[in-house]
Symmetry: C2
Subunit: 334 residues, 2 copies
């Protein structure tokens, strides 16, 4: 039952410098894709030798089994679809269907959802959060196999897959340094969570590795929304000595930073380069200029979690704590 | 088993002038909500007398049943989460869980998904598309109860729920007229589909009902993406006699129109009022100024479809073809 080591739409996306959503739209002849993007994706498909497989062929029997999929905030995130697609793509390879429950983070509902799934004899449960954080899943989930997705338990007693935030923060900063920037601001979220702490750590390490002194006046923390990014960038633009580049905690903050930079009469990227995190395609691809950003590996996390539950490999003695890389999506803002 | 006629988060959202996603974030103490928005939602909750119910209490038995939920493009739309939430909220009231399959629009995969669901003895299947259009579902779906969501079959032989695009187009245009505008441009999608045709029809009827002559130079069609909106608005801004307001086919096109209007040195809404369609909150709430738009009733369509399958009402002789209203979300662009 080992999976073939084949080209995936994730590889296509990285090669073409777009998100997996865009590749999916091109593969499915969705009308809302620009001609340029379509051409770039088709070039990548051709260069990598990708052949879309009929997913229907992977359904070998009618007597399918199921895995449970519990999410917290499916309605309020643009990421849920990619996570679910990744999990489903693997689940179907193993003839499994997803039983989906969205809980809005309600612990009583989570416990009830697990009971429901256990009564339906799922092979395992993916417990997924929509942003990277520690969790306390309901106790009854231990009655089956579990894979935590974009979250972890503090004692690391359950298998988990999360984005490699530190490496992503490092690579975003290094990308700016590679373009010649030495004075680099960092707009961060103002609530400590793994992404906030680890992306900052990556920023610091990249500066240190390139002999750039950390300057605390260049680091501003605000609410992780466009207005927070706007405020933070405004503060940075009042410094007597301006930076030439800024790394933003997420694409929403970058959206606000764009407004502040433009109102200040500066051009992106000539006067101020911008790099960001998340690859929320609706924003990142459509800002002027299009935003260079680190992609959160939602599709890949979905695949990993389903593969862990269904792959049949010997489970290691200690539950794996997997970090997935966040690929750089190059656009026009650096 | 009749549902109580209770206040829903949809009512809260309308009352507070925000999307259901925002209400959900406030109810769940999600950190990424501005203080102003949180206050507005809490005011609406208080005024309407809303009491969040523990969804867990609705699970009366461990022996739950299931309905199938087939979607086409879950990974590439911001709307899937709301549709799924609406369907799940009702399904859980009836002790049902959702079996989810995303097909990327592949007909062979759709047929296989239906087989899988039939073999698991679902009570019915919701067949959902992510934009309003005619469909040809796989034949085997007729072996169970079906509710079509955001789509319909041409001969109207299956029950269907879709947004009331005509009324939405009418009300968007009437909203501009109500603010004193008489010369109103319309930026439309350039591919005919129900939304494109019916929103245009609503625009025309609203003009006629207010004795405004239709002027074809004010109607420009482009790709339904930000760059299409940017191009269309640029063309409108080259007219010798400018309009004072514009109705955009969707929020993505409005995003591009904003850029064109600002580059032209005009202010929104003082020099050019903008109203739009979809309420993609990530865009609409975060543009400067925040965008007034008609909300697509995704949560409500999800609820309707699940209620139709599970409600146990006598099925009418001819399959219902339901139009759900698209509420006006007032922000700052009109």
């Amino acid at each position: 039952m080992a999976m073939r080591n084949r080209i995936t739409i994730h590889d296509i996306a990285r090669h073409a410098g777009v998100g997996v959503g865009t590749v999916s739209r091109v593969l499915n002849d969705h009308p809302n894709v620009s001609a340029e993007t379509r051409a770039a994706v088709q070039k990548a498909i051709s260069e990598l030798g990708y052949r879309p497989r009929s997913a229907a062929k992977t359904l070998r029997t009618r007597k399918s089994l199921a895995i449970g999929f519990i999410t917290d905030y499916i309605a309020t995130t643009p990421f849920a679809g990619n996570v679910i697609s990744g999990a489903q793509d693997v689940a179907w390879q193993y003839d499994h269907i997803l039983l989906l429950v969205n809980t809005n983070g309600d612990p009583a509902l989570e416990e009830a959802a697990v009971e429901m799934m256990l009564s339906r004899e799922v092979e395992g449960i993916i417990y997924a959060t929509m942003w990277h954080r520690p969790v306390t899943p309901p106790k009854n989930i231990l009655e089956t196999n579990v894979a935590l997705l974009d979250c972890y338990v503090e004692d690391r007693s359950l298998p988990s897959v999360v984005p490699d935030e530190l490496r992503g923060g490092y690579e975003a900063t290094a990308r700016l340094i590679q373009s010649g920037h030495r004075r680099i601001a960092f707009i961060n979220h103002n609530i400590p969570d793994p992404a906030q702490v680890l992306r900052a750590e990556g920023y610091c390490r990249a500066l240190a590795d390139h002999d750039i002194t950390y300057d605390e006046t260049l680091v501003v923390q605000r609410v992780a929304e466009p207005y927070g990014g706007y405020e933070a960038m405004g503060r940075i633009l009042r410094l007597s000595k301006l930076p030439s580049a800024v790394f933003c905690y997420n694409d929403r903050m970058a959206m606000g930073a764009y407004d502040a930079i433009k109102e200040h009469g500066l051009r992106i990227p000539q006067d101020m380069a911008v790099i960001s995190y998340d690859n929320q395609e609706l924003l990142a691809a459509n800002l002027h200029p299009a935003l260079t950003t680190m992609e959160l590996p939602h599709y890949g996390m979905g695949r990993w979690a389903a593969q862990y539950l269904l792959g049949g490999e010997l489970k290691p003695a200690s539950p794996p704590q997997v970090l997935l890389a966040c690929p750089l999506i190059e656009r026009q803002s650096v």
